[in-house]
């Protein structure tokens, strides 16, 4: 699978264990597609709605916005470059759109969303948040984007999100939610339109989770095209040099430099295991410069 073939889909779902760099990879994929002249929407999922005392949403996190160097994203796509746009997928926007599509009069939908009871029910009832997010995604897919790159939450929540249309279609046997869930399933399960990208770190736990995630997605009939192995440490040693190191280093855990060897070995093992068990192309992304850390640390120090 080449990157070109990957980017030829309409919807890319990017997921993996927490902390593996899903957002960075999502942003990078979106930028790569935009650089090839595609009209791209990068989307992040945000369950949060602004706190009651924060109408502007200043307390919301927006990791994708940070990765793209933007202020927090809103519900409407914002232009980043000529061909790259970014937006957040929030339950609230989906719920409002859903009610507008479902109820005969737009005024009634707006009145319903103004009703504290309806609003709170949608906000608090489990699965309805996920439905709102999916509905918003389906809605955005109706716009003329060549590609939508969606930065999904970590494994458990990503699977729960992907599971919602099926669960809803089962519980509700008819009606507009059933129809929306069916439509969602059709889009998610069409490998020509939709595929997923699993992001992992070169360590045993994230790799195990990537394998579990792959199985979970497979059960939900969602296609998976590629594994991105993020932050792979470079291996400077030839096999002969490595053998020489093993002869010279007596106490690996107590020798500077040698403490980095297990990471190099784990990266090779991770690559092998993913390629062997998932039979998917594995793309390694090297560890990048650490300068960012220092700057953020400076910010932390002043963050009292």
């Amino acid at each position: 699978m080449t990157i070109d073939a990957l980017l030829a889909r309409r919807l890319l779902l990017v997921t993996g264990k927490g902390g593996v760099g899903k957002t960075t990879i999502s942003a990078a994929l979106a930028r790569a597609a935009a650089a090839k002249g595609k009209r791209v929407l990068a989307a992040e999922i945000s369950y949060e709605s602004p706190r009651e005392d924060d109408e502007a949403g200043a307390t919301l996190t927006s990791p994708l916005a940070s990765a793209l160097g933007l202020p927090p994203l809103g519900d409407e796509p914002r232009k980043v470059t000529q061909s790259l746009f970014a937006a957040r997928l929030s339950p609230l926007a989906g719920h409002l759109q859903f009610l507008r599509d479902t109820l005969p009069v737009r005024l009634l939908a707006d009145a319903a969303m103004r009703s504290a009871a309806v609003r709170r029910f949608f906000h608090a009832a489990p699965t309805l948040a996920e439905l709102g997010i999916l509905y918003r995604l389906l809605d955005l897919l109706k716009e003329p984007w060549d590609l939508v790159v969606c930065d999904l939450p970590a494994t458990g929540h990503a699977l729960a999100l992907a599971q919602v249309p099926q669960a809803l279609a089962t519980v509700l046997r008819a009606g507009p939610i059933h129809a929306a869930a069916q439509e969602g399933l059709a889009v998610l399960r069409d490998p020509k339109r939709t595929t997923s990208v699993l992001v992992s770190l070169p360590d045993p736990l994230p790799v195990s989770e990537a394998v579990e995630l792959y199985e979970g997605l497979h059960k939900l009939s969602i296609d998976c095209a590629m594994v991105v192995l993020n932050r792979v440490p470079p291996n400077p040693f030839t096999p002969e040099e490595r053998a020489a190191i093993e002869r010279m280093v007596v106490d690996r855990a107590r020798t500077l430099g040698a403490r980095r060897l297990p990471r190099i070995d784990r990266a090779a093992a991770a690559n092998d295991r993913l390629a062997r068990e998932l039979r998917l192309p594995v793309r390694a992304v090297p560890e990048l410069d650490d300068d960012v850390v220092a700057r953020i640390a400076g910010g932390l120090g002043g963050g009292a």
Binding site: T59, F121, P126, T127, H157, A258, A294
Partner: protein, 383 residues
């Protein structure tokens, strides 16, 4: 910067001595579960009866602390194992199972078996309980409160759910009490609550909206579900409020876990702001995981003995190892600076070392030691 004065307990040891609840927050992948387990072990070392509530531990970690993944109640770590490590206290672990917590809550709050069964068998209840999303958050807070109230433990350490917004679980009781607000329930349940023109108008809108969206049949089923649940609402709501009160009290402490990666550090800063800002929760400080800060007593590659008949390959290999060593020293420097910058009035910070290989009981003990020992900067440094 600030060194712990002689006689004053280091920060983590102080928390483990004084608090009844320690909540571990942090972005995904920073080692929250491992840290929660190590904190529990450290507390047991201090003689405490300790419970660690984890959400979704990796299988090998579960093995390291002796917690089967399917238990319906906390599993104690074998006394012999603790005794062998010279630990006086006790340690139990439990992986929160949303279904078990919910079922327990339903049984506790219902008046009779028949009511409990009618709720547990309700199709909507089962569909909700089966969906993991959201349930972990509701049940983590619920389980925590139950165990603190039971009085069986001196300290409960909670590993928060691996969600993008790591503080979801704090909002869960509030969300639940909003959902259970009788003004909302009243809208769905005909004949419940008082009248009033607003109430009946709201009920009309809600009925119209919901019948249209979910279909008439589902609305009836939802009403049945809520009617079956309604006997429990008051109790559940006051319970949810109690959880909030407990977490806000000085008996609780929130610790933010970070690893030395930009995203994790940014998330840590955001978490601190949220905890101390709008939420007004008792935040204590940071734990910087997997840091390279500890370099004391390490050998340098220059100290290694080259074989007498050293080949060019040996020399090249050693040169490359020296390159790795100098990179490692830069990382150590970076992590010590990070540690210092994390500390500020109102926030302490301690580092745990990078460990290679599997996290087993011995590895957890090492992390536990480094957490309570809280070595000063000089002790971290080489030579």
């Amino acid at each position: 910067m600030r060194k712990s004065d002689a006689g004053e307990r280091p920060y983590i040891a102080r928390l483990l001595h004084e608090k009844r609840v320690v909540v571990c927050c942090g972005a995904g992948g920073v080692g929250k579960t491992t840290t929660a387990a190590a904190l529990g072990l450290a507390a047991a070392t201090l003689g405490k009866r300790t419970l660690v509530l984890t959400i979704d531990p990796a299988r090998r970690l579960a093995e390291a602390i002796g917690s089967p993944q399917t238990a319906r109640a906390p599993v104690p770590v074998a006394d012999t194992r603790l005794a062998a490590a010279g630990i006086r206290g006790t340690l139990a672990t439990w992986m929160v199972d949303p279904r078990v917590v919910f079922e327990r809550m339903v049984r506790r709050l219902t008046t009779d078996e028949a009511q409990a069964e009618s709720i547990l068998q309700n199709r909507i209840y089962r569909a909700l309980a089966d969906l993991v999303s959201g349930m972990q958050e509701y049940t983590a807070a619920e389980a925590l409160y139950g165990f603190v109230e039971s009085g069986e433990y001196d300290l409960v350490v909670l590993d928060t759910p691996p969600s993008r917004n790591a503080l979801d679980f704090l909002e869960a009781p509030r969300k639940l009490s909003l959902f259970l607000d009788e003004r909302i329930i009243g809208v769905f349940l005909p004949g419940s609550g008082g009248g009033g023109i607003f109430r009946s108008r709201a009920r009309q809108i809600a009925h119209g909206v919901f019948s249209r969206i979910f279909g008439e049949g589902f609305f009836e089923e939802l009403q049945q579900f809520l009617a079956a649940f309604s006997g429990m609402f008051t109790a559940m709501r006051s319970h949810a409020e109690s959880v909030r009160t407990l977490l806000k009290s000085p008996a609780s402490s929130f610790v933010v876990i970070a690893s030395p990666e930009p995203a994790a550090l940014a998330e840590a800063a955001h978490l601190e702001k949220t905890l101390t800002g709008a939420m007004q929760l008792p935040f204590s400080g940071f734990i910087l995981n997997r840091s390279w800060a500890y370099t004391r007593g390490l050998l340098s590659p220059a100290d290694l003995a080259l074989p007498k008949d050293a080949t060019p390959v040996d020399h090249a290999a050693l040169a490359k190892l020296e390159q790795l060593a100098s990179e490692e020293l830069k990382l150590a420097e970076r992590d010590r600076r990070l540690l210092a910058s994390l500390r500020h009035p109102g926030a302490e910070a301690v580092a745990t070392p990078q460990l290679d290989g599997d996290i087993d009981f011995a590895a957890l003990l090492l992390i536990a030691e480094s957490l309570v020992a809280c070595p000063s900067e000089d002790a971290l440094e080489q030579r």
